[in-house]
Structures are given as C-alpha cells and as structure tokens.
C-alpha cells in the first residue's frame, strides 16, 4: 500500500473513533485523536510534495468501487503537482485549525462532535483533491458539502445557524446538479471517468454538437459550462454566492477552514483540474472570466459597508474567489491556483484572527462596537495586520505576488482580459479599503463596547495564538515561491515563475501575447498604487475623520442602502424562488396532489383490496401442511413443465 493512501485514511480513522466513542468515552479529549491524525497527514503531505518535486507522478487505482458492465469506477489516487499544492494547503490549514479549535471550542458540549466533523471534512477534501476520476471527485465534492452543512449548523439549537446550514446545502444543490450532469455527460461522451483518458481524448470530440430542444450546442462548451455550474455553487460565485456570508453562523474555525481556505476553493481547483476541457471552449473561458471579475467587484462593494466582522471577511472571500476564476478564465490556471494557495494562508489567518477577537469580545461581531483592541491583544493585532497587508497586495507579502500575477496575466490576455483587468484593479482598491477598515475600526481608536466587555478583554490562549503566528508566517512568505521573473524570480518557462512552472505540466501555460517589460512594470505599479491608496483612504475615513463615512452614507443614501442590503439578491431570490415554491407546495402539492389524488389512491386501493380479500382470504387455512403441500405440488408442476415442454 502506498504511503499516500494514509493521507485521507488517517483523518477518516479519527472521525470514526471520535464519532463512535466520543460521546461516552473520549468527550473532552477528542483533540488527542484528531490533531495527531491530521498532523500526521500533513507530514505525509510534505513527503508527497518532496516526491512530486523530485518528478514523481503517482496515479493508481487502489480499489474497484463500482463495476457494472461497461461502467467501471475505482477509488484511486492521483498525485501530481496540482494535487501536491492542494494537499499542502488542505493539510496545513486543517492542522492549524484543528489546533486552534482546541482553544476556541473549549468547554463546548459538542466538542467531540466538532472534531469528528472537522476530521471528516479533512478526509472528504483530501479525497476530492486526490481523486483520479470524476466520480470520486464528485463523492468528495458532495461529502465536503455535507460536512459544511454539519458544521455551519453545528450550533443547531440556534435557528439562524440551522437556517444558514439549510441555505448553504440547498444553494449548493443547484450547482452540484450542474456538476453531476457534467460528469454524466463526460461519461456518455467518452465512456470513462478517469482523468487521464478523459483529458487525453477530450480533444477528439472538439467541434461535436449536441441537439438540445432543437438548438445545436457545442459539446465541450456544454460539458465545461455544466462543470462550471458546480464551481459556481461551491465557490460562491454570482449568482449562487448567497450562502457563503450566511455560512458565517458556524464556529469561526469552520469559517476559516471550510469557507475560506479549502472547500470554497474546490471550485477553482476543479476548474484548474479540468483545464484541458475548459481550454477547448473559448465561450466557457469567457464566461468564467466575466463571472469571476463581476463577482470580485460585486462582493468587494458589499464588503465596504458591512459591520459584521466575519461577514466582511466572507464577502472578501467571495471577492477573492472571483479573482481566482478571473485568472482561470483568462487561461492563467497556474496564477489562479497560486492565488488559491496564498489566499488560504492569509484568509484563514483573517478568520482565525476574527475568531480570536470574538473570543475576547464574548461573541460580539459588530466592528462598530469594537476599537482599540490593539493594546489588549497584541498577537492577534499584529498577525491580523500582516494578513491585511498581504490581502491588500503590499509588495513583499504573499498576496502581492499572486494578485499581481493574476492582474498581469489578465492584462496580457487580449481585449476581454483588459476588461476583467479593470474589474480586478478596482477590486484591488476595494480590497485594501475594506481590509483596513476592519483594522482601523476594530484595533485602533477608542473602545466602543460595554464596560463589561472591556473588563473581559484578554489575549487568546496559546493554542489559538500559535496557529495565528504560523499562518502569519505563511501569509508573508507563502508567495515567495512564485516571485515573477520581472522581480528576479527564476525563469522556468518563458513568462513564468517557479510556481507556474511547477504546475505547468498539469494546467498548461497561458499563451500571453508579447508585451514589454515597461507594461508589466506599469501594471504592477498601478496595483500597488491602488492598494496603498485604498489603505490611506481607509485611514483617512476611519481614523482621522470618523464622521466622514456617515456623511458619505447620507449623501449617497440610495447606493448605501443597496450595498447594505447586498444588492437585494436575497430578497430577489425570496420573491422569484422561495415564495413561489412555497405557494406551489402549499396550494398545489398539499391541496390537490396530496389531498385529492394521493389520498384518493392511498385510501381507495386498500378499500378495494379489503373488499376483494374479504372473500379471498378463506384460502388461508392456517394449516402449515396445506401450504407445504401446495408448494410441493407446485414444484412438481413446474418440474413437469420444464421436463416435458
């Protein structure tokens, strides 16, 4: 058995142990099971990375899952550069979140349950990224969705939490439906679900069309769009982004792990994994780029005015995910994955920092009621600041390299690229602004909460600050593996940094048109300028002139209202989907289908049978021998029939 198999198996074992014995035996020692398991996975993931860096690619089936005539699916693992990167991201963040949770979930009645679910999630995510066929990926895809449901609704006594869990689950279902159809379509087209043969032969069906209701649709475009549907749902892109901000009802470590670093990025991972399919469909690529760009700016604007610290970060996540799709859409899959990788560190750090703040503030999430926390919780403050600098894209930090890479690749990718580049650049400004808005409102100035809260302020325990510090290292240094050639990063392939060169065998390399270094410098300079101006604007608005934002809000009342209400998307969905569904359910299904048809059938059939059996049951004498005799003579009759006819 390969060592790699252990990576997902260890968290699975931890899950089973915790869920089976947690309630009565393990109780508050659950972390002694889950943490070592996940850390061990992390160690093996590091070994895996070094193997892959050494040029090893592992692709092997370990178990025949389904064999049904021509349909064969196995559980197998594919370890290539893309998987290796994802393994590092998932296991690192998961380990740190596990450790963080030891402090954060301390004294929670569902302690063992929490760790069991976290481990199950880690297992599912690892299955997703290590899959070597679409069905296994789909399994992982659904399993992470399920874990997300469990964990959002972890405090299920709270109605808002269970509602949010249901919302996340149902909204994801829309996307997964598309994804499932895409997988089925791949199987129908190519007769297999393994990556290698699918990607190898997808080119052969280029140009084929499918007749749907009289319209000729390009087959590959249809497949890619259906797959992208899944990505839209899972990665919370427009129009299915509504679940992610609500998902913040779950415990904060969950937000950091699932709704920032790993699960929501599964969509990006999937698109990058299916790069050979997407690359063949320019239409889909354009859709991906535009959806990503629009989501980025859309979520960024909403984040400007929100007050809930976790929701701001959640919208920021949506926005950054848009960035990643933007990169994928212009063909720079490597840049997208690079941003995914750096984003995992600084976004997890932001969430864990927010969790630390909430821990200190006894669960308060409104940044308007915070302020001046810098001196009470220095560790949290400094790590949070580093993460914010990183997300804002200040040179030297991880976020800078990935964001710059995306913006440059977008700029270099033709007219559509230019358009999404503009969206991305504006988003960069917004990102810097709202990130530092949190810093200035929460950590600077005077404390605006109650006296009781002030009395209670404290730095979080070691088990919480340690992951913060470790993630802060990542938030600063993670980007250094992908320093662009322009700044002296080694050149693997032309126009590529080390990271891109590492991933190039899997996701390919964008065909950038020839541009001058001057242009590249200009793009980079502009993004840095935007980031700095965003920070300064935030400083001006929230530190120097605290009345200014209020005034602006009064002046542009309509815009403010729209942003405050998140563009009324939830209300829109309520009107066009939720209300009609309820109406149909209540009036048609309950009233007519259930009440008349089904009940009529349900009551009518038994009544008829009852009348019929009234006369028929007299055959049942109750004598076993009569039955046995009938059986024997029946057997005899059949035997005679077979023998003589």
């Amino acid at each position: 058995m390969e060592l790699y198999t252990l990576i997902p198996v260890l968290p699975l074992a931890a899950f089973w142990i915790n869920i089976l014995f947690g309630r009565h035996y393990i109780k508050d020692n659950a972390h002694w099971i889950s943490v070592p398991a996940v850390v061990a996975s992390w160690v093996i993931a590091l070994i895996t990375l070094s193997d892959v860096l050494g040029g090893k690619v592992f692709n092997q089936d370990i178990y025949q899952w389904i064999v049904s005539d021509g349909f064969k699916v196995s559980v197998g693992f594919l370890v290539d550069p893309l998987t290796a990167v994802m393994l590092i991201v998932v296991t690192t963040v998961s380990s740190l979140v596990h450790i963080y949770s030891v402090g954060y979930m301390h004294k929670d009645p569902g302690y063992y349950r929490f760790f069991a679910y976290l481990s199950l999630f880690t297992f599912s995510m690892l299955m997703l990224v290590m899959a070597n066929n679409f069905l296994q990926m789909y399994f992982g895809w659904e399993a992470v969705g399920l874990c997300s449901y469990f964990l959002i609704g972890f405090w299920y006594q709270k109605k808002s939490a269970s509602d949010a869990a249901k919302k996340a689950f149902i909204v994801n279902r829309f996307g997964d439906f598309g994804f499932g159809l895409g997988v089925i379509l791949i199987f129908l087209t190519l007769g297999t679900l393994h990556y290698a043969p699918v990607f190898g032969s997808i080119g052969s069906v280029a140009g084929q069309t499918l007749n749907i209701l009289g319209t000729e649709v390009d087959l590959i475009t249809l497949i890619a769009l259906l797959l992208f549907c899944g990505a839209v749902g899972k990665s919370a892109q427009i129009p299915l982004h509504v679940w992610l901000p609500d998902a913040m009802e779950g415990p904060t470590p969950v937000s950091a792990l699932i709704h920032a670093a790993t699960m929501v990025t599964a969509g990006v991972f999937m698109v990058a994994r299916c790069a050979p399919i997407f690359s063949l469909s320019p239409t889909t690529m354009a859709v991906v780029a535009v959806v990503g760009g629009v989501t980025a700016i859309f979520a960024g604007t909403i984040a400007l005015v929100q007050n809930d610290i976790k929701r701001i970060i959640a919208y920021s996540t949506v926005s950054q995910l848009g960035y990643m799709f933007l990169a994928c859409g212009v063909g720079a899959f490597g840049a997208g994955i690079f941003h995914l990788y750096t984003h995992a560190f600084f976004k997890a750090l932001l969430f864990l920092g927010a969790g630390s703040v909430m821990h200190a503030m006894s669960g308060e999430v409104n940044i308007q009621k915070m302020g001046g926390l810098k001196k009470y919780m220095p560790w949290t403050y400094w790590t949070f600041l580093l993460a914010s600098l990183s997300i804002a894209g200040i040179p030297g930090f991880a976020g800078f390299f990935s964001k710059d890479e995306i913006l440059w690749q977008a700029y270099a990718a033709g007219p559509l690229g230019k358009f999404v580049w503009v969206l991305g650049a504006i988003t960069a400004l917004l990102t810097a602004f709202y990130s530092f808005r949190i810093i200035y409102l929460a950590f600077h100035g005077k404390f605006r909460g109650t006296e009781e809260q002030k009395h209670h302020l404290h730095e979080s325990p070691k088990s919480m600050t340690l992951p913060l510090v470790l993630l802060a290292v990542g938030a600063v240094a993670a980007g250094w593996v992908g320093i662009p050639p322009l700044l002296g990063g080694t050149i693997g392939i032309e126009h590529s940094d080390k990271f891109g060169a590492f991933l190039a065998p899997v996701v390919g390399h964008p065909h950038a048109s020839v541009h001058t270094h001057a242009e590249e410098w200009a793009v980079m300079g502009l993004s840095v300028l935007l980031a700095i101006s965003g920070i300064l604007a935030a400083r001006y608005c929230y530190l120097k002139n605290p009345e200014l934002p209020v005034k602006i809000g009064e002046k542009f009342k309509f815009a403010y209202r729209v942003l405050w209400n998140k563009y009324y998307v939830d209300e829109l969905y309520d009107c066009i989907i939720v209300k009609p569904t309820f109406w149909v359910a209540r009036n048609i299904i309950v009233g007519i289908t259930d009440g008349k048809i089904i009940e009529g059938v349900v009551n009518g059939v038994p009544a008829a049978i009852g009348r019929f059996s009234e006369s028929f049951r007299k055959i049942q004498t109750g004598f076993t021998h009569h039955y046995a005799m009938v059986m024997a003579f029946g057997l005899l009759a059949i035997a005679i029939a077979v023998f003589f006819f």
Partner: protein, 170 residues
C-alpha cells in the same frame, strides 16, 4: 471393486436410515439414527476427497445441530408423542408428491452429462492438503460470502436468544 462396495454400502445405509428417521415416533430415536446417517455421509465425503467437509459434517451437523435438536426434544419432554398419530390425515398426498419428484429427478439425472472439469484435481488437493486448498478458495474468492455467512450466524444467535428467552415480568 472395493470402492463400489463401499459406496453401495454407504448409499444403502443412508437411504434406509433417512427413511427410518422420518418415520420414527420417538424423536430421540430418530435423532440417534440421524447421527449414524451423518457418519455415513461423512464417510462418503471422505471418499469424495473432501476430508475437511467430512470433519465439518461431524463437528457442525452431528456435534452442534443435532445436539441442539436433542436438547430441545429433551427440554420439551414429549410424553404424548409415543401414543399420538405420527402423520397427518392426508399423508398419501405427500407420498404422491414425493414419488412424483423422485421419478422426475431420476429421469433428469439419467440424461445428465458432465461439463468441462476444473483444476481442483486430486493431485492438487493431496499436494497442499484439502483444508488448505478449500481455505485458499474460501478466503480469497469467497471472502465476502464468508463474512456474510458469519453475520447470518451472528443474527441467528441473537435471534435464538431473544426468541427462547423467558419474558421478564415487569
């Protein structure tokens, strides 16, 4: 000559004993006759190169299942059995069914021909002993049915305990 004699002896004894088994009035006698019959079946298995099955036949059938029957018979302690009628009123019907089946089966067997043979030869069994040969097949190709069989037994044990337990008055 001897193998034929051995077989005919066994076959006769098995047939006669099974006929006696179903017609005795005393269940204890019937069970003892069945015990003897099982021995002869085990001997047939030995003759068919299935020594492990022969041992299983004795251990499981004679040593466990029949003892279970015996226990139940003793537990019920039937006094009426010896004086009441043995067969149901319409027992000739059963005889007809039996005769019909027998004739049909014999007729079917007469025209029976053997298909292609496999690789489980006497030499192979002698080479690795029958137990090992059967075990290899059982634990590789038939491991899932084997596990299912263990579950069936487990369920049977639990079911038997639940059924036979005296109701605890609450």
């Amino acid at each position: 000559m001897l193998p034929e004699l051995f077989f005919y002896y066994n076959a006769t004894v098995i047939t006669v004993l099974s006929a006696l088994v179903v017609t005795r009035s005393n269940p204890v006698h019937s069970i003892m006759l069945m015990l003897v019959m099982f021995f002869h079946i085990a001997a047939l298995y030995l003759f068919l190169n299935a020594e492990f099955l022969a041992a299983i036949q004795i251990i499981v059938y004679a040593g466990a299942i029949l003892v279970l029957f015996l226990f139940v018979v003793l537990l019920l302690n039937l006094k009426k059995e010896l004086v009441t009628q043995i067969f149901i009123v319409r027992w000739p019907l059963g005889l007809v069914a039996m005769a019909g089946l027998l004739v049909l089966m014999f007729a079917g067997i007469k025209s029976f021909t053997l298909g292609p043979t496999g690789d489980f030869t006497i030499e192979k069994i002698a080479g690795e002993t029958h137990t090992a040969a059967i075990g290899t097949v059982l634990f590789t190709e038939y491991i899932v049915p084997f596990e299912v069989a263990s579950l069936v037994l487990l369920i049977a044990i639990i079911g038997a305990i639940v059924l036979a337990k005296k109701q605890i008055k609450t």
